[in-house]
């Protein structure tokens, strides 16, 4: 835990430590053994020159689930897309500030977004399986990244990923059928399996349950709980209950500002900021 302190306070580029730095309360956290995966310093995002995110500073631990909550339009999804540089694909979007992943600036000149996205997977709001077979959906990532030189390896990766996503038993007899034929919840787990197959370190989830029914949502949350052992997970959710259920740390965003970032338990039981309190008690939002 001292390593964490050093990492945080003794950061060589302390000039980025201006503005609001929210302490991780690492000493009281159950994830106190975790190292920092992402260190965000003064992150700003502009769409066509308009600032959508105002100087966010935040450290994301490298295991466990970190939830990003806040009313719609607060910038939480925009912030999530910073971590795998998906904002690059939007014309006229610009990111300023610094995001260090394992100490390396992911917006650095020598960083290839293709490589970054292999390490940081993403699951979207609406399940988006490719119009291909279930097998080909999962095998897509390993194939393009050349992770499976032999057919056997590929089969193994697909099987392992589907198992880890809790979908194997449901689809093992119909791997050749189109992925678009599955139910919404299954599709979302297929998409997670597809992301896992690339062996990422981080999985970003952008309101992954918003298109699912309650039963599928429960299954998905169970899955997230299992996955957190192996992956650093960042999840955007509009459901506070979900954030409370699945996450260990929670960040509350409001109008492009990171208002409060703390252990989930602390946020929900003892919010420090009035705006956070108003939101979680349902007065705003």
């Amino acid at each position: 835990m001292s390593a964490l302190k050093t990492n945080h306070l003794g950061h060589p580029r302390s000039m980025f430590d201006t503005g609001k730095v929210i302490d991780m309360k690492a000493t009281t956290s159950e994830a106190n053994t975790a190292r920092v995966k992402f260190k965000c310093r003064n992150v700003e995002v502009f769409y066509s020159g308009k600032r959508a995110l105002h100087g966010v500073n935040m450290d994301v631990p490298d295991s466990g689930v970190t939830a990003l909550i806040g009313p719609s339009g607060c910038g939480k999804s925009t912030f999530l897309r910073v971590f795998n540089r998906m904002n690059d694909t939007i014309p006229n979007a610009r990111v300023a500030g610094q995001i260090l992943m394992d100490g390396q600036d992911i917006y650095g000149r020598d960083v290839d977004p293709v490589l970054l996205r292999a390490r940081v997977g993403m699951v979207f709001q609406k399940p988006n399986p490719f119009p291909k077979s279930i097998f080909d959906n999962v095998a897509y990532g390993p194939r393009i990244h050349g992770l499976a030189p032999r057919k056997n390896d590929l089969d193994n990766i697909v099987e392992k990923s589907l198992m880890r996503a809790g979908l194997w038993n449901e689809v093992k007899d119909r791997l050749k059928e189109p992925g678009t034929g599955l139910s919404g919840g299954q599709q979302q787990r297929l998409v997670i399996a597809r992301a896992i197959a690339v062996s990422p370190e981080v999985i970003l989830m952008d309101e992954p349950a918003s298109a699912l029914d309650p039963i599928a949502t429960a299954k998905l949350e169970e899955l997230i709980d299992e996955l957190k052992e192996k992956y650093c997970i960042l999840i955007v959710t509009h459901s506070m209950a979900q954030a409370a259920r699945v996450s260990q740390k929670t960040a509350f965003f409001h109008l492009g500002d990171l208002v409060e970032y703390d252990d989930t338990q602390a946020i929900f039981t003892n919010p420090k900021d009035q705006r956070t309190q108003d939101y979680i008690t349902g007065r705003t939002g």
Binding site: V114, L115, F124, K126, F130, R194, A195
Partner: protein, 409 residues
């Protein structure tokens, strides 16, 4: 002056005067009768509708005279004609006078007339199709009386020159259309071979790589290629491309005629680039953004996303676009007339001159002709083949594209 008194002009003048007068008369009548009417009830329709109604009645009666007159012209002495038109119009005015009361539902009648007229307008399109089918089928049947269908569709010899005198040797030309179909196919193949990859790559570049400004500049420029008349392409092929290919081939010691399948096909390819590029562009843009995002988020490059996700998803639409382009290429006339050659030549070599269905239709029907000769009728048989084949391609293409659209809507 004689010009202005020609029967056509005179009839037109009568007609216009009558119709305008009827409009004014009906309108005036409606106004005055509404004012005079004892009960204070409001008129059902605006005065102008009474006017339109009157004009319509008068025009209808006049046309009722003119049409049979023109069709059976000469049955009655000439001076009767203006008299009959005037009579018909007078009858119209009597009818109007009887009908137009304030309670008369002029608007409903006018609207019914308008609806009918509009329906007739859309009937013209159907009539055109019927006209095409009937004239092609009818003339083709007469052709097949002289030349058996099977000989036409499978014969390898095409020399439509018929002899001038009946006793001349070889007086009936031979009408085996296979060399023509082969030539059409080859030129179309060359055109698609050029336009396919280029058009598709342009669509991909514009939809996935180009920024907004480049796209806004390049797209209309490419589309200009589709707006250039085909006669211009034909002359370009004849004047510039054909000789350029010939000179180029000479550099390799080959002899290529100025008119060749490759010259006509490549210029036609340039012409259909925009068909493929804009149709494919539409199709590629119809693929949901979420699929793109999903692939990119897995660490795929844009080209991998394109070739492995978007392209397979858009494939039916792209096939539709290609079919439409093929149909366009097959029906294209002027480029091949000017740059492909006239003589039927069954060959697999694109560097030789070949002929196409459209070229043969033109060469059979231009110049001196007698309408009933097999030579002239053969043009209609070729036209029928062309019509049926392009129609088939279009129907298939439209079905595919529609199915594809439904999938992502």
């Amino acid at each position: 002056m004689q010009h202005f008194l020609s029967p056509g002009i005179l009839t037109g003048a009568f007609l216009i005067t009558g119709v305008v007068t009827a409009f004014l008369y009906g309108r005036g009548l409606a106004v005055s009768r509404a004012q005079l009417s004892a009960d204070d009830a409001r008129a059902h329709s605006l005065p102008s509708y009474h006017g339109y109604f009157s004009a319509w009645i008068v025009a209808l009666l006049a046309v009722g005279v003119i049409v049979p007159w023109v069709t059976f012209s000469g049955a009655l002495p000439k001076f009767m004609f203006p008299a009959m038109i005037l009579g018909a119009m007078a009858l119209g005015f009597i009818i109007i006078n009887r009908l137009l009361t304030p309670t008369f539902r002029a608007r409903n009648h006018v609207e019914r007339f308008v609806g009918g007229a509009l329906m007739i307008c859309s009937g013209v399109a159907v009539l055109t199709t019927f006209g095409i089918v009937l004239s092609l089928v009818f003339e083709s049947l007469r052709f097949f009386d002289q030349v058996p269908v099977l000989d036409f569709l499978t014969g390898l010899q095409w020399s439509p020159q018929t002899a001038l005198r009946e006793d001349q040797v070889g007086q009936s030309g031979s009408f085996g259309a296979v060399p023509i179909f082969a030539g059409t196919f080859m030129i179309t193949a060359v055109a698609i071979f050029i336009a396919g990859p280029i058009g598709l790559l342009i669509a991909v570049y514009l939809s996935e790589y180009a920024n907004k400004r480049t796209r806004a500049a390049v797209k209309p420029m490419v589309e200009i290629l589709a707006g250039i008349p085909t006669i211009v392409y034909g002359f370009f092929a004849l004047l510039t491309v054909g000789p350029a290919i010939r000179n180029f081939a000479e550099g390799f010691g080959l002899s290529v005629p100025t008119q060749s399948a490759i010259a006509a096909g490549s210029v036609m390819g340039v012409m259909i680039i925009p068909f493929i590029s804009s149709l494919s562009d539409d199709v590629i843009n119809a693929v949901p953004q979420t699929l793109r995002d999903g692939s990119l988020a897995l660490g795929a490059t844009k080209s991998e996303t394109m070739t492995k996700v978007i392209f397979p998803a858009a494939l039916p639409g792209i096939i539709g676009a290609f079919l439409l382009a093929v149909s366009r290429a097959i029906g294209e006339t002027m480029i091949v007339v000017m740059a492909a050659g006239r003589a039927a030549n069954l060959t697999g070599n694109p560097f030789e001159a070949v002929t196409t269905v459209t070229v043969q239709i033109v060469s059979l029907l231009t110049g001196d002709q007698e309408f009933d000769s097999a030579k002239t009728l053969a043009a209609f048989a070729l036209g029928l083949v062309l019509f049926v084949f392009t129609l088939f391609l279009n129907v298939i293409a439209l079905l595919i594209v529609r199915k594809y659209r439904e999938r992502y809507e």
